[in-house]
């Protein structure tokens, strides 16, 4: 991806130099291994700070709302789909964002890599398809493809679906025969076992709402969990309140989620909150043939009425 970093920096430099955009939103190097941090660059001298690698797992579409003037943003496949969703939902205007598309080979699963080590990782390097990781006690060379996040392994839209310029050559899209193995695995369980699965999934949740806040879809001025008049959900650690939050958060993403994985990436407790959203993604695909963020001209299925709606409540 080294060439792509150079290309990103060049494009950003040109855009700022010609004053075509006010700023460029991208990733910068983090202060600890396997970390990158969203950054906004307003001066062309700072474009050297931009990086792109397989730790850029957050979704930058989350940062483009309510910006003044025209901005440029670096977009992976999933980011670009969320930009499309933003445009459809009137959160940004198409001519307000300059999209620097980055074809993506997938982001790494940081917690899976961390779990290989007893102690803290002190060094992380990416070299083509391999990852070199060191802690104070050992050094590992891993194949990146073995340590991709689950959503990246199952991703069928690695190339940006919308862009003004590309910072790299388009990659070959994966063809996935069974796109929702995780959902099917849960669905195969008995009802009580499914219940236990989700109870266990969320038991360490601290309600920091990082999943919600990292999600580009969650832009409501007041989230239902924060609303106090009337209050919808208790604010404590009662497991029913926690589950209500996760369940309804997911539901609010139905037909809009691109499975970018930012929610799970942001979770400090490593909860795979995608277990909730993925079910809805599968349902909207099965029922409506819909995948979010692919088409600027179509409203998401739960936002549109169609006489041939497959739901059984309209009879």
């Amino acid at each position: 991806m080294d060439t792509c970093i150079q290309k990103i920096r060049e494009i950003a430099f040109q855009l700022l130099d010609k004053k075509e955009v006010e700023k460029v939103i991208g990733f910068s190097n983090g202060t600890i291994p396997m970390a990158t941090s969203p950054i906004t660059i307003a001066s062309k001298q700072d474009t050297e700070k931009l990086v792109f690698n397989s730790t850029c797992g957050l979704n930058l579409a989350n940062y483009i709302r309510q910006q003044k003037g025209k901005i440029a943003v670096i977009a992976k496949g999933c980011d670009s789909r969320n930009i499309v969703t933003h445009i459809i939902e009137n959160q940004v205007k198409r001519d307000q964002v300059y999209i620097i598309g980055v074809p993506c080979n997938g982001m790494i699963n940081k917690s899976k890599i961390k779990s290989l080590f007893e102690d803290e990782i002190q060094k992380f390097e990416e070299d083509g398809d391999s990852l070199i990781i060191e802690s104070s006690s050992k050094k590992e060379k891993l194949k990146k493809n073995d340590y991709l996040r689950e959503n990246c392994r199952l991703c069928q839209h690695r190339n940006p679906v919308i862009y003004d310029v590309l910072a790299g050559d388009l990659v070959k899209e994966q063809i996935i025969d069974v796109p929702y193995p995780d959902v099917e695995k849960i669905a195969a369980l008995e009802a009580d076992a499914r219940w236990i699965h989700f109870q266990d999934l969320t038991k360490n949740c601290i309600r920091c709402y990082a999943c919600r806040n990292a999600c580009p879809l969650c832009y409501c001025p007041t989230c239902f969990v924060d609303e106090s008049g009337p209050q919808w959900v208790g604010k404590g650690q009662d497991k029913t309140d926690i589950n209500t939050f996760h369940f309804l958060r997911a539901f609010h993403c139905a037909g809009r989620c691109t499975d970018c994985g930012a929610c799970a990436e942001a979770c400090p407790m490593d909860i795979n909150v995608r277990d909730f959203t993925r079910k809805l993604n599968k349902d909207t695909f099965d029922m409506f043939g819909w995948e979010a963020g692919l088409d600027l001209t179509k409203r998401p299925p739960l936002d549109a009425y169609s006489p041939d709606d497959p739901n059984d409540f309209i009879k």
Binding site: K239, A254, F313
Partner: protein
């Protein structure tokens, strides 16, 4: 929504969606009867109930 609840292990028959016009009184009555029968058959709900303590 029903699907997701069911996926989470909540019985499908505990939640019901219907489109009933304010003029369709008999339909409303029928639907409510149907739901209460279904829920009665399931017995008390133990999931997604607050502990409160």
């Amino acid at each position: 929504m029903g699907n997701l609840l069911e996926h989470m292990g909540i019985e499908r028959d505990r939640i019901h969606f219907s489109w009933i016009s304010s003029a369709e009184a008999t339909k409303f009555v029928d639907v409510v009867k149907e739901i209460s029968n279904k829920v009665r058959a399931l017995g008390p709900n133990k999931k997604l109930v607050k502990d409160y303590n």
